[in-house]
Symmetry: C2
Subunit: 275 residues, 2 copies
């Protein structure tokens, strides 16, 4: 079963478009688990056990494990997910992008070493640098299109001579037309840009769109749903990290995270075409 099918199944089974970003910062996780040998894994494991029936995906952010010298905690998290929740898609958020042979190494890292179901990639270097990822038909390649950050327009909004299209539109069109032969492509579009989300949805049809930027970054759920969902109320992977994983700060953090995830699930579902 490929990434897109797996996503379709879980959207239905858990009735949820919520993705939880597993971006643990050792300085922010509950003090009661900071002295564990693998504190980030212990934190993630508790969050996963508390929320596995209300999410459509988990998205560990690679930078947090690398920057804190805790790659083993990431490996343990992925192993735990694969062993216990093989039906839930796992997105490694790493924004890889490099020339052919190097991109092959990154694809190997994402899909064979970490065994993620999908990985985020950066298109700046061109279509040939995405091929090593796209070549895995069962794995999702999630391409940056219009990102959630304030400066995302610096280059993504530049208008091309001739086509009169913005750069992110060129990316969306290539994703829909050239790169999706295996139906394994998805895009990243920030919740902070609902008009752009609507435009991209029209270009890519039912392609899954990963939407970061809800919550801490200020994205609006109603606008995202109205502009981004498909006719049948699917098509979105709406990520929240900080608002869920840090909902509580004591021993009850996992319970509080579950409550926050359910609240987000409900907020989203009230705007779904068919919920």
């Amino acid at each position: 079963m490929n990434f897109t099918q797996k996503l379709q199944n879980i959207w239905t089974q858990n009735n949820s478009l919520v993705c939880i970003g597993l971006d643990p910062d050792i300085g922010k996780i509950p003090e009661c688990i900071r002295s564990e040998k693998h504190p980030l894994f212990i934190f993630n494991k508790a969050l996963i056990e508390a929320t596995a029936d209300v999410v459509c995906a988990y998205k560990p952010q690679f930078a947090y494990y690398l920057g804190q010298g805790m790659i083993p905690d990431l490996e343990m998290t992925l192993d735990f997910l694969k062993a216990n929740y093989p039906h839930i898609p796992v997105i490694l958020d790493a924004k890889f992008g490099d020339i052919g042979p190097t991109a092959e190494m990154y694809a190997r890292a994402a899909f064979q070493h970490f065994c993620a179901d999908a990985v985020t990639v950066n298109p700046y270097m061109g279509g040939d640098t995405l091929k090593p990822f796209l070549r895995y038909p069962d794995k999702g390649t999630i391409i940056l299109c219009r990102t959630s950050n304030p400066g995302s327009g610096d280059f993504q909004d530049l208008v091309m001579e001739g086509s009169e299209k913005k750069l992110y539109v060129e990316v969306a069109e290539k994703a829909a037309i050239e790169w999706n032969a295996h139906q394994n492509v998805a895009l990243v579009v920030g919740a902070t840009w609902p008009e752009e989300l609507q435009q991209i949805r029209k270009i890519v049809g039912n392609m899954p769109i990963l939407v970061p930027g809800i919550g801490a970054q200020g994205g609006d759920i109603e606008a995202v749903m109205k502009k981004g969902q498909t006719a049948l109320g699917f098509g979105l992977i709406i990520n929240s990290s900080r608002n869920i994983i840090y909902a509580g700060s004591d021993a009850s953090f996992a319970e509080k995270a579950r409550a926050a995830a359910i609240e987000l699930q409900c907020s989203i579902n009230q705007y779904r075409n068919i919920a």
Copy 2:
């Protein structure tokens, strides 16, 4: 001493613009060391000891360590370089790029965990995503501009309405004008595009340019030197990986690598304005 000054010193001291890409593939390194506990580190260590007086930088490619599950070998390589050759700049080639708090984690990984002198980054997400790197005044931030791969023109060559400039030119201009307050910015321009290199050199003045694509990728040394060097014969970090690190395949690999590095150094120096 910041990255640019360190580079200027070593360019002069070693009379070399050669950077060696430390991109070891366990399937390609000499068989006699493959069964070592840390084979990639052993390989790198021998290469470094054999070439430290003929290079201006080392550039480990992050993907090779991650994809093969050998991050400890990368850590050992960086530690070895810092302990024994602190005057040689080390560039972590990882092409990081992400929103603010995540980019901070990547900057921490590159500059504090691995202790690299510089890191490669991807500008697609916009100027605000580069700031967490630029904020380290002593560390180099090397921004992708015109990459060496065949498909690099897919987006980098698109012409912008209004300015009539290509995307990579917009990146080069921002690098020169907006992002270089600490004189710690450099660019990546592939050896495979000498005309573009010349155009970028005019935009960025004496800014260092990292040039991959010599050797295996087909870049021409004479063209790179004529179009890319500064008036005084500096300004370039010319990377070669495969042609140097795999110059030999038996126990004499390090010696052969040294010979290949010196050959490249001489090929380059014959075209330097002042060598």
